[in-house]
Amino acid sequence: MSAFTDRLQYLEFKKKDAQIRVLTLGTFEVFENGRFISSKAWGRDKTLQLFQFFITSRHRRSLHKEQIIDRLWEETASIDGDRDFKVALHGIHKVLEPDRAPRTEPKYIIRQGVSYQLNHEYIWIDAQALEEYVKLGNEAVSTEITTASSAYRAALDLYKGTYLPDRSFYDWTSEERERLHVLVLSAYLSLAELLLEVHPLETVRLTQAAILLDNTWEDAYQLQMKAFLAKGNRPAAIKVYHRCVAILDKEFGLDPLPETQHIFDTIV
């Protein structure tokens, strides 16, 4: 077994082993030791928002209380913000650890002075896992194609839609949403390219999914044309080219790249 397959297994294990599992892609669902936590359990929306903010800011490790209040309670006077933050944090602890003994430290949100962070040891987040799978796929792609394919596949299986869809209009989620969006597009195309020769119809499916996410992604059209060509379906490849031309003209007023044109020339 290689280091890459070890990592792949570890990622699978981490998902099964986690005490808290959070789904953020296309939905928002939290499970505590397999028990689904209903949206009603969060009570106030700010409690839920604060938990989602911790998840969204997970890359920053530790967050200063003031930073959090500034983003989530920006219109509130600082004294009220402080109180509201404490109430919301207490709400999270209550939801995630309903049976925690009094005067014991919370397990899932760690406090260090006035800074807070998620305890990644116990929490599994789909968006985080997706990123780790894509990273693994990218690293393995030049030496271990099978592992790379499995990693990309695992990443894309996790993608059920946009990041925190219920918070689309909140700007503290937009950066993460955009980052994941581009990451998913790149994973679709990487896997589609890997499968072009062995499974061209799967390349077609994957590129279609990428085009659904962003219909101006020209690389996806190129791969789809090649896949149809590999299957000997020239009319479908020509159709894809014309769709690409129409979209690029409509959205940018541009012609396709010479490379796209070149693929088309080999078809006709």
Binding site: D70, E74, E75, D166, R167, S168, F169, Y170, D171, S174, E175, E178, V182, D214, T216, E218, E251, F252, G253, L254, L257, P258, E259
Partner: protein, 169 residues
């Protein structure tokens, strides 16, 4: 979920780079952009940055209109004109300035400095301090972020000018 209604408009810009060779074999770069208005959810693709600025301008005007809907039409128009002033300046001179900067970086820097001092004078003349008494923490934060952004851009530009001067020597 309801739209987050406040005085903030956030925009997300995505640029995708396409490098290719034209018919003569000369390398070319093309930038394709997408701008999204976070609070409203609208998106637009663009090739020219001025189109992105136009998009921002429209969204900000809508925000100003919404915030001033209780004012008289005259007052509303006045506020709107003032609100749009800075965008007019950027959209009318932005692309030209960028082009000139590439041709002659020193002139470009001088141009930017001139614009900054002009804006400074404008602000000095136009700002009614009473209007800023109710400014929120996020207003100041936004100003700080804009200033930091401008500083970074000036720093980058200065570096490029220095590099070009070195190359010339």
């Amino acid at each position: 979920m309801a739209q987050n209604n406040n005085q903030t408009a956030s925009f997300m810009l995505r640029f995708t780079q396409k490098i290719f060779e034209d018919e003569k074999g000369t390398p070319q770069v093309q930038w394709r952009g997408k701008i999204s208005h976070i609070q409203g959810g609208e998106q637009e693709n663009f090739v020219e940055v001025t189109d992105a600025i136009k998009f921002i301008k429209v969204k900000l005007s809508e925000l100003t209109k919404k915030a001033t809907k209780d004012k008289t039409p005259e007052e509303q128009e006045g506020i709107l004109v003032r609100s749009l002033d800075i965008w007019k300046k950027i959209s009318s001179t932005g692309a030209k300035m960028a082009f000139e900067t590439i041709k002659d970086p020193r002139k470009g820097v001088a141009h930017i400095q001139e614009q900054i001092s002009q804006v400074g004078e404008d602000i000095g003349q136009r700002l009614e301090i009473d209007e800023w008494r109710g400014a929120t923490k996020s207003d100041f934060k936004s100003i700080m972020e804009t200033l930091e952004n401008v500083t970074t851009q000036l720093h980058t530009l200065n570096k490029k000018v220095d590099q070009l001067s070195k190359n010339k020597k």
